[in-house]
Every structure is written in structure tokens, then in C-alpha cells.
Symmetry: C2
Subunit: 195 residues, 2 copies
Amino acid sequence: MASILLRKRPTQQRSRQTIEVILEAAAQVLEAGGLATFNTNAVAARAGVSVGSIYQYFPGKDAVMVALIRREAARFEAGLTAALATLADRPLAEAVPQLVRLAVDGQTERPQLARILDMEERRLGLEAEVAESAQTTTAQLTRFLADHTVPDAATSALDLQNLVRGMIDGAPGAPPDELTGRIVRAALGYLSPGA
Amino acid sequence: MASILLRKRPTQQRSRQTIEVILEAAAQVLEAGGLATFNTNAVAARAGVSVGSIYQYFPGKDAVMVALIRREAARFEAGLTAALATLADRPLAEAVPQLVRLAVDGQTERPQLARILDMEERRLGLEAEVAESAQTTTAQLTRFLADHTVPDAATSALDLQNLVRGMIDGAPGAPPDELTGRIVRAALGYLSPGA
DNA sequence: GAATAATGTGAGCAAATCCTCAGTTTGTAA
DNA sequence: TTACAAACTGAGGATTTGCTCACATTATTC
């Protein structure tokens, strides 16, 4: 059965490498010229690969985008899982700053790219397969909040993700330490109302 | 001197009307099919106007986008100015909920459109002329916060805008009342840390 | 090393899209 | 009414872009 995400299964090492090269090239194209310059020819050229190779594995332009989004999401999710495991039995006041910091750092590494991927994640958000990865991080956060007796954990998880994302995306270039502190203030305020 | 935003100055009533029709058509195209279907031909067709008419007044596709962004921003800014005047000497705990509600309602009226314009505002954000209107609302908020003895008013204004925007954009279809309440919690938490 | 499968190539087709410009229609003013 | 300016039209030129396919190259298997 053919995937919507991958047209053909790579079996040799060579092709797996090619896919990696394509994705990294896509990332670089996005960073260099934004969405406007993101087209298959540009990606192929940057990857040092022919257009045909892209279509060997990706059914279309958007599929490349989706793969990139998933790659970055997976990276973040790995960090999140680890962090949550460590922080499982710590109080919110201690856990939240570390989680926020994780998000800030993730977005700070390649800020241009991260912002574009956020945008595209929304644009492609209708398709179920794309939303999946985002949902697993939300699910993890939800469980964590529920374990900390936060009411309405699911809604809170979503709100917090959006809050953090909005503040990070809107303040590119801000010093990570200070930005983290300010976001933490908002997040803890959200979690402990009316104090 | 020709503007970057408007190629030719409309002098007759008729042409001013045409510009309005074009902008509203652009809004409808965006709502109906998203960014992907936003092209000059589609806008012209929807407006019941020839492509040429668009280029009479707008130097290009993006200029239409910018004009739309400015139109919506102006609308919001008018409401903000009025609200801030009323709330000038009220405490934050009372003012913030009303301001948040204003933002929520603004985004709720035409949610699809509002989200796309937010995205495009960022994409076009490099050009100074575009950022201008966003800056004036930030400036108003900054002044308001400073009058309420909020430290670092400029940074806080920006953070709060981003926080609010992120939470609203990320929760489309949420009940305005509840969403407003949750955003207020975060905003007040941001403003009164460590309570 | 021959046969088969996997992978890679890139010219170029089809379609989409931006925008122009020569010509027409509508408004204004003397 | 006439002369001029403003506004509008829309076919189509120029360009961009997604994508295919016939063919070449590299790996694997027997």
C-alpha cells in the first residue's frame, strides 16, 4: 500500500541518503528565500539532485513540506518525552520553566525555518496525517497536566502550546533567557489563576 | 509621487468604489480557498472587474494583500483607541478582560480571513510600510501599560499581543467567552508575576 | 558476469499566473 | 456639444512552476 507521504519505499542506503539530502535542501531553501522560493526545482538544485529524484519519493511538493514538518516535530517530541519523564513528579513551578526553555531553544536553533514550518503546519493542518505528530505532543502534555491535577488538561495543554508558540514566534531574536522567563510568567499565571 | 501601495490616485467616486470592491473580493477569495487560490484573476472575477482594473491601482498582487491587511488593522485600531480611552483610568484587572475580548471578537468575525492576514502580515513584515500599522497598535498598548506602571511596557505590549494572538489563532471555533477568560488568566499572570 | 531490481537524470510538456497595453467606455468641464 | 481626462476592459505575451517519462546509472542476486 502506497503512503500518502512517501511514494516509494527506499530500500537501499543510497536512497535514504537522498531523501535526507532533499529534506535538508528544502530546509535551506526555506531559510534562504522563504515560502516564495520554495519550489521543486529550487530544492532539487540545492540538493544537487534531479527533480525526478524528488518525485521518486514524494508524491508532490506539499509532501516534502510535510516530511520536513514531521522531521522537526519528531526531534522536538523526543526532547519533550525525555523532559517529561524527568519532570514527572516535580511541581509545576519547577517543570514549566524547563519545558518552556525546551520550546524556546527548539525555535531558536533555526528560527526562520521554525516559523515557516509553523505556518505551513497550519495550512496543511486539515489533513489528518499531518496533524498527527502535533497531536501526540499535545497528548503528552495533556497527560502531564492531568497528573498534576490541572483541570481541563486537554484544553490547557492546547492553550499553553499556543501561548508559548505565539510568544516565541512573535519575538524573533529575543534573548532566550529573558524570553523564557516572560513566557513562564504567563504560563504559570494561566495555570494558577487569580493568585 | 507614486505610492508603493497605490499606483494611481483615484479621483472619482467610481474608482474609489472599484477599489473597495476589489478588496472585498480579495477577502472573499481568501476565505473561500485560502492563500492557494489567491491570484489576480480570481480576485478580478469575484469582483466582477477586469484584471486591468486591479493593476490600475495596485502595483502587484502583494499590494492588494497589504491593502487588505491595512484595512482590517485600521478597523481594529479604531476599536482599540476607543476602548483604551474609556479604560485609561481603570485598573488592569478590569481593563485587560475588555481588551482581550476586543481581540477575540475581532478575530472571531471572519476567523479564516483573520488568520490568513496574520500569516501574511508576517511574510510581508520586512517592508517597513506594512509593519507601520501593527506598530501603532503596539505603541498605543505600550503607552497604556506604561500609564499603569507596568515595567518594560514596550516589551510587555509586544508579548501580550503575541500571547493573545497565538491563543486565539490556535483555538479556532472556541467559545469566545471561555477563550477570553483563559487568555485573561495568562495575560494577568504575565502582568502580576509570582503572585 | 548476466540478469534483474533499485535508483537517478533532466529536457520539456501542460498548466497556472502575473501583468501589459491598445482600445473602449464613462465622467468632467468649458 | 466638444474636448479632454479618468476609468475600465480582456486577450494574450512572458514567465514560472509542478510534474512526467524515456533513458542512464548503480546496486544486488544467483
